[in-house]
Symmetry: C2
Subunit: 162 residues, 2 copies
DNA sequence: CGCTTACTTCAGAATTTTGTGAAGTTAAGG
DNA sequence: CCTTAACTTCACAAAATTCTGAAGTAAGCG
């Protein structure tokens, strides 16, 4: 292990907390944000519940809650080491930001609410027309995001190799 | 005014509250979400502070706070009717979702935090490499979003005319 | 000028959210 | 089977946030 590669726990912690703070500002809950940042900055890309609790100074209950949220939103995955009841949580490196970008369920619900708005306020009213346009925008974005992620994969390969 | 265009206050209110609830779920604060939904579903696309307070049953203080937030994030604009100190708040129809999409300041800060992470954890460590890749992703997205919005304007014109 | 209307700011009450300890559940290991 | 380790759930205390009423500021109007 080179000097550059030796991890300074304080530097790691500084980064974890400052990156987590940015995620919080973007609307993420505090504990999930901290847990996620810790995983992101771990060399293996995985940590156990105990390691997370120790680094972040939080209770097992807090780890459990944060991890459940992160798994539900596909930001991390859970792995069971065979023949053990210790779990490992992993950032999927190239998949978590796809989860971030792909808010499909959310957009679908917005679209539902807007469609309802168009029909209940009347498609022939100014407000109804405004909502129909907004709806068209979301439908457009939905299609574009998929194409963008495909271009990213190509771009990524060019930058970092296969 | 046709029957279809006559506004049923209860239908409007139902839509406002349900759309606001979706915005809240996406991370927006409650009052800004309700105020924004009310503006979006108004025929004129503008409302005064008094109208907002009455429809949403909230105090002038709450209107003031919500509107300040919405103006800061470019979701609505404030207009002064000349020769009056009554203000009108307006959804810019085709601009608010651009504001939603264009989280440039946010992304810039994420990039800053990640750059710091790469250098403090070491560009030659596994964690550093993971963060460098994440950083590249955000840089990529930044460029793509601008192009996507340009395509939207073209698409929009095709759907709704100039 | 002063009155009045419209918005803003601020302190605090009320609500909501968050994180903990403790008890509960599950499954490995003896 | 029984013990114990690992995670989960739950009730509650603490902390943070939200919204209000009241006081403050500014600008039109007489």
């Amino acid at each position: 292990m080179t000097d550059a590669a030796r991890r300074d726990p304080e530097a790691v912690s500084n980064f974890v907390e400052s990156f987590a703070a940015q995620l919080v500002e973007a609307g993420m809950q505090r504990m999930p944000a901290r847990v996620f940042a810790a995983l992101l900055s771990s060399d293996a890309g995985t940590m156990t519940a105990a390691e997370l609790g120790e680094q972040l100074r939080i209770s097992p209950a807090a780890v459990s809650g944060a991890v459940r949220y992160l798994a539900q939103t596909h930001m991390v995955s859970r792995e069971r080491e065979p023949g053990s009841r210790r779990e490992r949580y992993r950032v999927h490196g190239d998949q978590w930001y796809e989860a971030l970008t792909n808010r499909e369920a959310l957009i679908k619900r917005w679209e539902g609410a807007l469609r309802e708005g168009v029909s209940s306020l009347g498609a022939d009213t100014p407000a109804g027309r405004r909502m129909a346009e907004t709806l068209a925008f979301f439908e457009f974005v939905e299609g574009e995001v998929a194409a963008m992620m495909e271009r990213w994969r190509v771009h990524r390969e060019k930058l970092f190799g296969t």
